[in-house]
């Protein structure tokens, strides 16, 4: 029992736990759509593309969320605009925008005096450094993103299951996708603190992908993704505490293991 309660005497560990749980719930809400719409690649791109926004806000001591939101909107619009103007396939447009934005972030950060430490924090994250203000931010984002997704759930469902019918009844399928990209950008900001930009797509999609293998309705899929994400996050955090490993990467590894387990369980059915 001490194994479980010992770390709880540290406030930073408690904050990390709460943050992991909040972000897991948030990622389940957004990740379900990312997985169902086949946006995993674009989600990964988005997680890298908001990097300059976060760095800019960090250097100007501004709000990271606002910085990331601006970068997310620019990226979502940029991918669409480049795709249309150039006539290139979308994956090329995504690749160009995402690498360009990420490089811009690294260049901006290289001007900072504490470049290496800051860079590794952004790239790998550190859940044990979560501040009370971060937690309030995470809660606010969870409520806002959850609210938006609930409000447009039936439209998203139709546009994801049958985009043709969605267009036939006059739904703005493209704009719904752009909105989803912006929400992904917002979620990434929260995951950056925990696992960094490079690993954030794991939190976003791994639990949802595992849940998809097992769940039969959207609601169950989201609930299960939130549950699996929470279990993975909490387990990973404890493991990293005792094994003295990088917490963000440990959480990602546990999530990956849970996914593989879900895959194995389904095969046996």
């Amino acid at each position: 029992m001490h194994l479980l309660t010992d770390p709880l005497q540290f406030a930073f560990f408690n904050r990390a736990l709460i943050a992991v749980i909040l972000v897991s719930v948030l990622c389940a809400l957004v990740g379900a759509w990312v997985v169902l719409r086949g946006l995993s690649y674009i989600g990964d791109a988005m997680s890298h593309a908001v990097f300059p926004g976060i760095v800019g806000a960090f250097l100007m001591q501004g709000n990271l969320l606002v910085g990331a939101l601006i970068a997310a909107v620019l990226t979502a619009l940029g991918i669409g605009a480049i795709g249309r103007r150039s006539g290139l396939k979308q994956d090329s447009a995504i690749g160009i925008v995402f690498v360009g934005m990420f490089a811009l972030g690294v260049v901006m950060l290289s001007r900072a005096p504490t470049f290496t430490t800051d860079l590794s924090n952004f790239l790998i994250g550190n859940p044990l450094g979560v501040t009370p203000a971060d937690l309030w931010g995470a809660l606010a984002v969870t409520v806002v993103v959850g609210g938006i997704l609930t409000a447009i759930q039936k439209e998203l469902l139709l546009a994801s299951f049958d985009p043709t019918e969605a267009r036939a009844v006059g739904l703005p399928v493209r704009r719904l996708e752009s909105l989803l990209l912006i929400l992904i950008g917002l979620v990434v900001v929260l995951t950056v603190q925990l696992v960094g930009t490079t690993l954030s797509v794991s939190l976003l999609i791994t639990s949802s992908a595992a849940a998809r293998l097992l769940a039969r309705s959207l609601k169950k899929m989201m609930l299960l993704a939130a549950l699996l994400g929470t279990v993975g996050g909490v387990t990973g955090l404890y493991l990293s505490y005792y094994a003295n490993t990088a917490p963000g990467a440990t959480i990602v590894l546990v999530n990956t293991a849970i996914f593989l387990l879900a895959l194995a369980l389904r095969r046996r059915e």
């Binding site: 469902l157 019918e165 036939a168 009844v169 039969r216 959207l218």
Partner: protein, 240 residues
């Protein structure tokens, strides 16, 4: 009620459809028939509004704004049946376009969905995951969704493909009844025999409209040869 005038659609150098003019009337069950690659789906997509570049070729009668009354049923195999929704959820999607933003399905919508599922005979399967259904049952679910939408124009892309013979009868009977109730029903099919049995309006298409009229007018050896044999000879011959 709905139609196209002088519609020409090109995909790059390929002409999918040339100078096509067709009308579909309320109370009529029409079939667009032709071999693969004849431009059937292109014609249907234009009618639905999925090819916005050709919107000016589409004709609507007054009082029928396009979006609010069209029900489109895509080819079954273009959908992802592993998607986590139940039969009930899938049929309820028919209400999405009707309800509008920020409105939730109420008792009336649930009643409409229930009636639609009963009419297509899959109400007992309502809690099943759609992936667990047979091809015929899937098509019934799509038709239930179409009924739940309560459109006046029902456009269906290959509704008979992948469907067992018994279900084909049920589906055709159901569409026939929709037409008899005053709706305009248009289906794309390559099943000439079924179309001839159930439809009162046939349109033979092979990159252009070959024939357009009642089954008696259209179903001639000459028309059928013109529709189905040129496709083997390739594009240049069809144009010549």
């Amino acid at each position: 009620m709905l139609g196209v005038e002088n519609l020409t659609v090109k995909y790059g150098p390929q002409t999918a459809l040339e100078n096509a003019s067709v009308r579909f009337e309320a109370g009529s069950f029409s079939a667009i028939i032709g071999p693969n690659g004849a431009g059937k789906s292109t014609l249907l997509k234009t009618l639905v509004g999925l090819l916005p570049d050709h919107a000016d070729a589409v004709r609507f009668d007054e009082g029928h704004s396009a979006r609010s009354c069209i029900s489109y049923v895509p080819q079954q195999q273009t959908l992802d049946w592993a998607f986590p929704v139940t039969v009930w959820d899938a049929a309820m999607m028919g209400r999405t376009g009707r309800l509008g933003w920020l409105r939730w399905p109420g008792r009336k919508d649930r009643q409409i969905v229930e009636d639609a599922l009963k009419e297509t005979g899959v109400f007992d399967l309502r809690s099943r995951h759609i992936g667990a259904l047979s091809g015929g049952q899937r098509q019934r679910v799509l038709l239930a969704r179409m009924l739940a939408r309560q459109g006046h124009l029902l456009l269906l892309d290959e509704p008979l493909t992948g469907v067992d013979a018994a279900t084909q009868e049920t589906l055709m009977g159901l569409l026939r009844r929709q037409a008899d109730r005053g709706r305009a029903v248009v289906m794309v099919t390559h099943d000439l025999e079924q179309a001839r049995r159930w439809c009162d309006h046939l349109v033979l298409v092979n990159r252009r409209v070959i024939a357009d009229g009642t089954p008696e007018q259209v179903y001639t050896t000459q028309n059928i040869e013109a529709t189905f044999s040129t496709s083997f000879l390739g594009h240049t011959h069809a144009e010549a």
